[in-house]
């Protein structure tokens, strides 16, 4: 009997068993599934996954169990260790896959096949298995062997548009393209589960970071060229409409948008001119045209800056919003954590972890009217669930477990 028979009436994905053998490209995918109740087992190599090395660490102590990246992205997962590069490991892995519903992996194409546990092999063992592969460039094609990191994929997909014209393209401070792709992979996985519900068959889901970055956060650079032979270039924070950009203020910066709403309504251009002290220079009708404003933004900016410099970012936020202008402060992470809005949403949650203790993590980006109940757990310690899974589920004896351990298999 498969795992799915067991759990019922809890979170959406609770009937499913997910096996994750993924690095930073796939962890968020596993996290999203686990957060919705999927029984997710993270398979690490003996000694622990390399993503445990990703800084920063709690107390700056580079300790296997203290890396924030690992702690955050592996919540609600179980953790086992397994060496896939030896016959035992492959054997055990196959046994695990027999009653798994989903496998999330992010190895370079062909690697798992070379170990005899690629899709075709697993498909024979378990035809209803869904294997979600997250790679830099996809399972085939001229770049399929290319190495990928956040820097590389973001550079190829979106960076050309990032930053000030006068500066080099600007690197994202977070794993933007990797995680954005991981969410797509999670979505695609659910689609494949739907397909399985209808046809009973599993399939191979092939998600490439390059595709997602170009068609997503790449902001249509490609389609713009394809359809208009127009090159989108770096334009700092300046939006196509104007005024809409980051402006300095007393204590920092704020994103100020004026005149996006047509006519005279609140948030419209006339209202904006009025707000910034109705300088005569901006009163002529020509300025009603957004494109004209965009072309002559340098004429407008001094007036705006003169205005914004009178305020703190918080004041600008309040004042602007009171007048229905889409104004927002450029918050520091500290501002965000401490803002009344964030607090009211209880976005940050406390997690208790055996090694780093009770600490505050960012929570999920959504609230549910009727929360789905799931078993909450902190990120697993290295091999924390070996006994549970190997002895409890696969029926190995403690003695055999020791053999596996001694021969470096788990």
């Amino acid at each position: 009997m498969t795992v799915s028979k067991k759990r019922r009436n809890s979170a959406p994905l609770s009937p499913y068993r997910v096996i994750e053998v993924a690095d930073e490209k796939g962890v968020y995918c596993g996290k999203l599934l686990a957060e919705l109740g999927a029984d997710t087992i993270k398979v690490e190599k003996p000694g622990g996954d390399d993503t445990r090395n990703i800084p920063p660490f709690a107390g700056d102590d580079p300790h296997t169990e203290k890396g924030f990246f690992f702690l955050y992205y592996n919540q609600n997962k179980k953790g086992i260790t397994l060496n896939l590069e030896c016959a035992d490991g492959q054997d055990i892995f196959k046994r695990l896959m027999r009653n798994a519903d989903v496998m999330v992996e992010s190895f370079s194409p062909g690697y798992l096949d070379s170990l005899g546990i690629g899709y075709s092999a697993l498909n024979e063992i378990n035809p209803s298995l869904i294997m979600t592969s997250i790679t830099g460039f996809g399972q085939s094609g001229p770049y399929k062997a290319y190495k990928v990191t956040e820097l590389i994929s973001f550079a190829m997909g979106a960076m050309f548009q990032c930053g000030e014209p006068a500066q080099p393209p600007s690197v994202s401070p977070i794993m933007m393209s990797l995680h954005c792709t991981a969410i797509h992979a999670a979505f695609a996985t659910l689609i494949a589960l739907r397909h399985r519900a209808i046809t009973g068959e599993g399939q191979h889901v092939d998600v490439a970071i390059h595709d997602i970055t170009v068609t997503g956060i790449g902001e249509g650079m490609a389609s713009r060229w394809l359809n208009f032979e127009e090159l989108l270039t770096r334009h700092g924070s300046q939006h196509v409409t104007a005024p809409a950009a980051i402006y300095p203020c007393k204590d920092g910066h704020a994103y100020v948008v004026g005149g996006l709403t047509p006519g005279n309504a609140p948030g419209s251009w006339p209202a904006f001119v009025d707000w910034i002290g109705s300088p005569d220079a901006l009163k002529e009708p020509v300025w009603e045209d957004s494109n004209f404003r965009r072309q002559n933004i340098d004429v407008i900016n001094p007036y705006i800056i003169e205005h914004t410099m009178k305020y703190t970012k918080a004041e600008l936020y309040r004042e602007g919003q009171a007048k229905h202008f889409p104004v927002s402060p450029v918050q520091t992470p500290a501002d965000f954590v401490n803002s009344p809005q964030t607090k009211a949403r209880e976005f940050f949650t406390e997690v208790d972890h055996p090694v780093i203790g009770k600490q505050t993590y960012p929570g999920p980006p959504y609230k549910l009217a009727v929360p789905w109940e799931i078993v909450k757990r902190p990120a697993p310690l290295v091999g924390q669930h070996n006994v549970e899974v190997y002895c409890g589920e696969l029926g190995f004896s403690k003695e055999e477990l020791s053999v596996l351990r001694a021969s470096g298999i788990i």
Binding site: C86, A87, D88, Q90, D91, E399, E400, S402, V403, L404, R405, A406, S407, G408, I409
Partner: protein, 406 residues
């Protein structure tokens, strides 16, 4: 010519039989001047272990047992049963750095030569007492030999083929030597401490405790899990194959161990059975381990067709751990050991050339070591009494009269 590491260190040595002499043996070879105190009343017991069936009336200087345990040492004869003898011995200890003994009981104390007495004699003296059960505790007076200690410590209960009843350990004096080596190390540590602080000390070594500290996993398994391990034979609790297999020649055997899939593949290719790597029973470590009986049988079919040396060559060339189970004579002939000059010839005045194993290590920049022949009884009386204690001939003659030097 460079000096030996321990040159300048003098040891008064009351050790006898096996464990004790082995301690000072190591130190003597490394350059320490070891002066054995014996007497014709009480020669070292091993002097009277006759040499097999070679002769039925061996002289006290012809025992092979003695020869292999006492080379590099000096010997003087003092009758310790006489107060004067003990006084005389004290003179030697006064100019020594270390005193060693392994009597079956507190003999030294009874002689007034316990550590506290020796301290008065020479404050920074280092004294080593080796015994079967330690110099304190309920068994401190009991005589003990290695096998007694082994049986007591649990070694026998862990020896033998898988699941067999307890079995004496075939390597005679194993624990004597292991204990002695611990003793030698402890003495060197004490010497090191003395050279840093000028402070001597007393070392109490119990063979039982040494034997026990050589069974850590069995003991930890008991203290942690209350499990009493039994004999495992040649088996390992992770590796398989891990055993000793019959070879072609007469009573020839080879030990083979495979610790990973790579080695297993190499092994199967080497013996021309590549299909084993895909055989359900043997394809991975866990299955190999579970199906060992069968596996061992099949491997033996292969080993039986080769001599143990052939088998070793074939397997080692493939990168598989394999070692023939050598008989003593084969060890002596072993080409590798010969190239390493593991055996040295010692000229012995009464025994002729004796070929013996040297210390089991080489120091890149120190001479080979002091391999003078094992001393005849009293061979160094002159050196000790004249040169060392510069006593007059008359004095010496008198002491011989009084049977103090005997």
């Amino acid at each position: 010519m460079q000096k030996l590491p321990l040159e300048g260190i003098r040891i008064t040595d009351f050790c006898h039989v096996w464990a004790g002499p082995h301690v000072t043996q190591w130190l003597a070879v490394m350059g320490a001047e070891v002066i054995k105190i014996e007497s014709n009343l009480h020669p070292d017991l091993t002097r009277s272990f006759f040499a097999g069936d070679k002769t039925l009336t061996p002289g006290l200087n012809q025992s092979v047992d003695f020869a292999v345990l006492n080379y590099g040492k000096k010997c003087c004869t003092i009758n310790m049963t006489l107060p004067k003898g003990r006084e005389l011995a004290k003179e030697i200890m006064r100019v020594s750095d270390i005193v060693t003994e392994n009597f079956g009981g507190a003999v030294m104390d009874r002689w007034g030569l316990g550590y506290s007495d020796l301290q008065k004699l020479k404050p920074d003296i280092i004294m080593y007492s080796g015994s079967g059960f330690g110099r304190t505790g309920p068994y401190k007076e009991l005589p003990a030999y290695a096998p007694i200690v082994d049986a007591f410590a649990g070694l026998f209960s862990l020896n033998g083929c898988l699941g067999s009843e307890p079995c004496p350990f075939g390597v005679g004096g194993w624990t004597d030597l292991v204990a002695a080596q611990h003793g030698a190390f402890a003495i060197l540590a004490a010497l090191h401490h003395r050279s840093n602080t000028g402070e001597g000390q007393y070392i109490d070594l119990s063979m039982t405790e040494v034997a026990s500290s050589f069974l850590p996993d069995a003991i930890m398994d008991y203290t942690m899990n209350d499990r009493v391990q039994g004999a495992q034979g040649n088996r390992d609790n992770a590796m398989a194959p891990h055993g000793c297999y019959r070879c072609q020649g007469d009573d020839e055997w080879i030990a083979i161990a495979v610790s990973s899939d790579e080695e297993w593949k190499a092994f199967c290719d080497a013996i021309g059975n590549p299909e084993w790597t895909t055989d359900e029973r043997f394809r991975d470590g866990l299955n190999r381990w579970k199906n060992q009986e069968e596996l061992d049988r099949l491997i033996q079919e292969w080993t039986k067709t080769y001599s143990h040396h052939e088998a070793m060559e074939i397997l080692q060339r493939a990168g598989v751990m394999a070692g023939p189970s050598l008989k003593a004579e084969e060890v002596v002939q072993d080409s590798h050991l010969r190239e390493r000059e593991f055996f040295i010839d010692i000229e012995h005045p009464e025994m002729g050339t004796v070929r013996l194993a040297r210390l089991p290590w080489k120091l890149s920049d120190s001479p080979q070591g002091n391999y003078n022949h094992a001393p005849s009884l009293g061979e160094h009386n002159d050196y000790v009494f004249k040169e060392l204690l510069n006593m007059s001939d008359e004095k010496i003659a008198q002491l011989q009269e009084e049977q103090v030097i005997l």
